[in-house]
């Protein structure tokens, strides 16, 4: 499989805002390492789920891939082209191939645009389709792919006339109209009702199984990742701490953080009621990263060496259960 997206050692830093007092006191600019050495790859026809708590850098990773935020280091290859080296003008034609779907379809759609206008706009921006009729044909085709069928009954509607699930499908249609090869979906169903979530997820699943598209989906819900993704990458404080085939990460987690996350997933079966490993506190502030392994302050099994040595992502040496190729974990004890 040729890799559609390759990210290597990506770094994205934000500098915190300095107040006047900070400036007068000549305090140095504080750097927040939001993404701190992330590597990942996605092939066509594949879905990668990026999971982790808020503030772990999932969204920043996606924004860095699209160059929506400047990167501080690393390589992002889209179809073999390093986009980190491109100017904004050179980036533009590439953007057509990489589209983003946002969390909240109640906010991502323009309330004054009819569905037709929303889906047509990307075509106008990229200068695709010479005539109005030609564009309308593309709009219809994209809507059919997003399962807004028949398109005629949705074309002239405004967002307020649509349900949450339909709105998200309109947002998806507006991405599909450019026939992207890579879809970046940031929590695409977390704002939707439970009853329609499965429908939108199945749509994304069918789209990537078509074979012409790869998807990176951010989710905080491991059950969703387990059901729909090929591979799962677990992020913690700007790093991927475990990555591997979805089934293996779910059934044989190696990193204590992944194990803890899995243990507290609320299962709908009351017989599976269990006291999981509830980690105390919340993700530390990325402004002052812990020394050594960044998970050690919350880790239930941390030893002295974890406070000093920062583990790299590698195949586990003391694997718990069977571990397949491509299942890697950043833990000194795994």
């Amino acid at each position: 499989m040729t890799e559609l997206l390759v990210v290597e050692d990506l770094h994205t830093t934000y500098s915190s805002r300095r107040t006047m007092t900070d400036r007068l006191a000549r305090r140095p600019l504080e750097q927040v390492r939001a993404v701190d050495g992330v590597s990942l790859h996605v092939a066509k026809g594949e879905m990668l789920a990026l999971v982790g708590e808020s503030g772990c850098g999932k969204t920043t990773t996606l924004q860095s891939i699209l160059r929506m935020v400047p990167t501080a280091g690393g390589v992002v290859l889209i179809n073999g082209t390093d986009v980190t080296a491109l100017s904004a003008r050179q980036m533009r034609p590439l953007r057509r191939h990489v589209q983003m779907i946002y969390q909240d379809p109640y906010e991502s759609l323009d309330v004054r645009f009819r569905v037709r206008q929303t889906v047509e706009e990307p075509l106008l921006v990229h200068g695709i389709g010479a005539t109005k009729a030609e564009r309308l044909e593309l709009v219809r085709a994209a809507m059919v792919r997003a399962e807004l069928i028949p398109p005629e009954s949705y074309l002239e509607r405004y967002p307020h006339q649509l349900s949450g699930g339909q709105r998200q499908r309109v947002a998806i249609a507006a991405s599909l109209v450019l026939e992207p090869e890579l879809l970046l979906a940031d929590e695409p169903v977390s704002m939707l009702d439970v009853s329609v979530r499965a429908g939108v997820l199945s749509l994304l699943d069918r789209l990537r199984r078509g074979g012409t598209m790869g998807i990176v989906m951010i989710t905080h819900d491991l059950s969703t990742a387990a059901h729909f993704a090929d591979r799962i990458a677990v992020m913690y404080l700007g790093r991927i701490v475990e990555e591997g085939p979805a089934h293996d990460v779910i059934h044989h987690p190696q990193h204590p953080y992944t194990q803890a996350l899995l243990s507290i997933v609320p299962r709908p079966d009351p017989r599976e009621r269990s006291r999981g490993t509830i980690l105390t506190g919340e993700t530390p502030n990325p402004r002052n990263l812990p020394s050594g392994c960044r998970f050690h302050p919350r880790c239930p099994v941390a030893t002295d060496v974890c406070r000093v040595t920062d583990p790299a992502l590698a195949p586990p040496r003391h694997a718990q259960g069977p571990v397949v190729d491509g299942h890697v974990c950043a833990c000194l004890l795994a």
């Binding site: 819900d221 009351p270 919340e282």
Partner: protein
């Protein structure tokens, strides 16, 4: 009457109707004929899609409906009906008997007051404690929800989301209520913090004998937290029973569809969405409200509204079931705990 009061349930809601007047003389029936009871230490989940009337039901129990709404029915605490007195009836019980953790409560703190001041406010308003007594109680409450007492002097922005949600729970507990209503208490929180908050709520019910009504759309959260569950659809309770009965032997097709739409971490079954959308409650609903989305709909569903009826006892304990990992509260002596409002379910039993 004293004997009656002693045996009366802690909270009893019966025949509750809530409707909103719409322009043009139309009415939106948000809650229709809802009945439920809560006992000390019991944890009940109220689940359903958005717009199913879960939050409206909780707000009615708190006596906090907006002025555009009208309500009828019975909301009784220890046998005392609060509805006739309306605002006066509820005021004497709000916070002192029934308290609520609102949806997004963690974002509703006053930014210019310390957290401690805000937790003390209901105590002062209700006269349960003042001055140093209130201060001591704030410290006690913060410790109870797992926040160091010294944090009372800090401002909301100095708290993380999870800590603010804990503080919101502390505030709800300020006047020692018997009943806690929690409206989507973990929806905006991270998974690990969600687990912490649910663990806290479960512990509080055990330690303080609190009755909990947990309003949520997440069946996983209910399954992990509650003993009993009521499923709402289009303003009505369509199925009610113990959580294990509903998980393994749901009788209502909507309950089954909700479980099928909830992905299970280790489950292999495909996740299925529910086709269609809930009915517009501003139009009168004839027959079963779920009929347009129901795969089992047949003739009577069109014009006869199904009523909640007990599921026959023979289906209560299916063969081959294993004991629960954690025992639920003692089995009730009530004859029918599993109720369903569905023509298809009742006709299947008749045959």
């Amino acid at each position: 009457m004293t004997a009656d009061l002693a045996t009366a349930p802690l909270l009893e809601v019966a025949g509750l109707h809530v409707w909103f007047e719409l322009p043009g003389g139309r009415e939106l029936h948000a809650v229709q004929d809802v009945a439920l009871t809560l006992e000390a230490g019991q944890r009940v989940g109220l689940v359903g899609e958005s717009g199913s009337g879960k939050t409206t039901t909780a707000l009615t129990i708190m006596g906090l409906l907006p002025s555009s709404a009208a309500a009828a029915g019975r909301v009784a605490v220890r046998g005392e009906d609060l509805m006739p007195g309306l605002e006066n009836g509820f005021r004497s019980h709000r916070w002192t008997d029934i308290a609520m953790v609102f949806q997004g409560a963690m974002n509703a703190f006053n930014p210019v007051r310390t957290v401690g001041w805000q937790i003390a406010e209901p105590m002062i308003a209700h006269g349960t404690a003042t001055g140093s007594a209130a201060k001591a109680r704030v410290a006690e409450l913060l410790e109870l929800v797992g926040i160091p007492a010294a944090a009372a002097t800090r401002y909301p922005h100095e708290f993380s989301g999870g800590m603010r949600q804990r503080a919101a729970i502390a505030m709800a507990l300020a006047c020692e209520p018997k009943i806690l209503l929690a409206d989507e208490p973990t929806t905006a929180l991270d998974v690990m913090v969600q687990a912490q908050i649910l663990d806290l709520l479960t512990r509080l019910c055990g330690d303080l004998g609190l009755a909990l009504l947990l309003v949520t759309h997440d069946l996983g959260v209910v399954a992990q937290t509650c003993d009993d569950v009521a499923v709402m659809y289009a303003g009505e309770i369509v199925e009610r029973g113990r959580i294990d009965a509903l998980f393994h032997d749901a009788e209502h097709p909507y309950t089954r569809a909700l479980f099928a739409a909830t992905p299970d971490l280790y489950g292999d079954e495909p996740v299925a969405s529910i086709p269609g959308s809930p009915p517009d409650l501003a139009r009168p609903v004839v027959g079963c409200a779920y009929r347009p989305r129901c795969p089992l709909a047949f003739a009577p569903c069109v014009d006869v509204r199904p009523v909640l009826a007990p599921v026959s006892a023979t289906t209560a304990t299916p063969p081959g079931t294993q004991p629960l990992t954690e025992p639920l509260t003692e089995p009730s002596t009530e004859p029918a705990r599993h109720l369903v409002a569905c023509h298809a379910a009742s006709s299947a039993r008749a045959t």
